[in-house]
């Protein structure tokens, strides 16, 4: 196969799409500045879209050695990439917002209901104990309760 016949922009677009998608989970999720809003990934998707557009045009150009194959490859890979981009956008902008409204949660100024739960060693720990057990020899000023989904 003639190297000059390879549709480089198309493949670059596909590769960048994959990197843009997976790097959010693998890398950028670990830094609040790129986690809270995935601007790095959106930028990469934008660049990938330009490559995909160029690749699609090249795939449908008249001077291709194998016009039919070239069109099919360009169409399939572009569709695949667009689906990945759509999946990412859906995950962040739609799916991630499907959270219960929690209107009944304790509000600022309210007393938070007392609880007793086992810690990682199975010992029962009360909120009162958390609020009174000294931190580095000094009584605590407060407790930050962090509810999270759990290990998976």
């Amino acid at each position: 196969m003639n190297v000059r016949q390879i549709n480089w922009p198309l493949w670059a677009g596909v590769l960048l799409t994959l990197i843009a998608g997976f790097s959010y989970i693998a890398v950028f999720i670990w830094f609040p500045i790129t986690r809270d809003f995935p601007w790095v990934n959106l930028l990469m998707f934008a660049v990938a879209a330009v490559f995909l557009w160029l690749g699609l045009r090249r795939g449908f150009a008249r001077d291709r050695a194998h016009p039919t194959r070239s069109k099919i490859v360009a169409s399939v890979l572009t569709t695949f990439s667009v689906l990945i981009i759509a999946l990412f956008l859906f995950s962040y902008f739609v799916f991630a917002r499907w959270l219960p409204p929690s209107t009944g949660a304790p509000q600022v100024g309210q007393k938070i209901p007392e609880f007793t739960l086992p810690d990682s060693s199975g010992r029962q720990v009360s909120l009162n104990e958390l609020l009174t057990t000294p931190i580095e020899g000094k009584p605590p000023k407060g407790v930050l309760l962090i509810f999270y989904r759990g290990y998976w």
Binding site: P100, K111, V125, K141, G142, L145, F147, Y151, W152
Partner: protein, 113 residues
């Protein structure tokens, strides 16, 4: 995901200690699972288990069917509680990926006496 937030807390633990704020993580995980997670990730602040979602439901934080195999879990939420047990600040995120940052919480330390 959750680990990104918890790791940030662990990294800022010295600042939390200095501010007199004790971070506490709560989930539906068993004490055994929490212990494994803490060992693996190097977390040193307390992890509590609410396997029956009793506290999670009392605080209206239940996210039905969002866990593995459709189990109920807690939605992400953070509460800063002062020594009298009064809520001084809370964060109920509207987007799963957007979480409270340690510096954001430490900024609120002045709300505590």
């Amino acid at each position: 995901m959750c680990n990104s937030e918890l790791r940030g807390i662990e990294k800022s633990l010295a600042s939390f200690n200095q501010a007199g704020i004790r971070p506490v993580a709560i989930s539906v995980d068993s004490p055994e699972d929490s212990r494994k997670l803490m060992e693996q990730a190097g977390y040193t602040f307390p992890f509590l288990s609410d396997q029956k979602t009793e506290v999670i439901r009392r605080y209206d934080l239940l996210h039905k069917g969002a866990g593995e195999n459709g189990t109920d879990i807690a939605r992400p939420a953070e509460f800063l509680v002062d020594r009298t047990g009064t809520v001084r600040w809370l964060n109920l995120t509207e987007n799963y990926f957007r979480r409270a940052r340690p510096e954001q919480v430490l900024d609120k330390a002045n709300l505590l006496e």
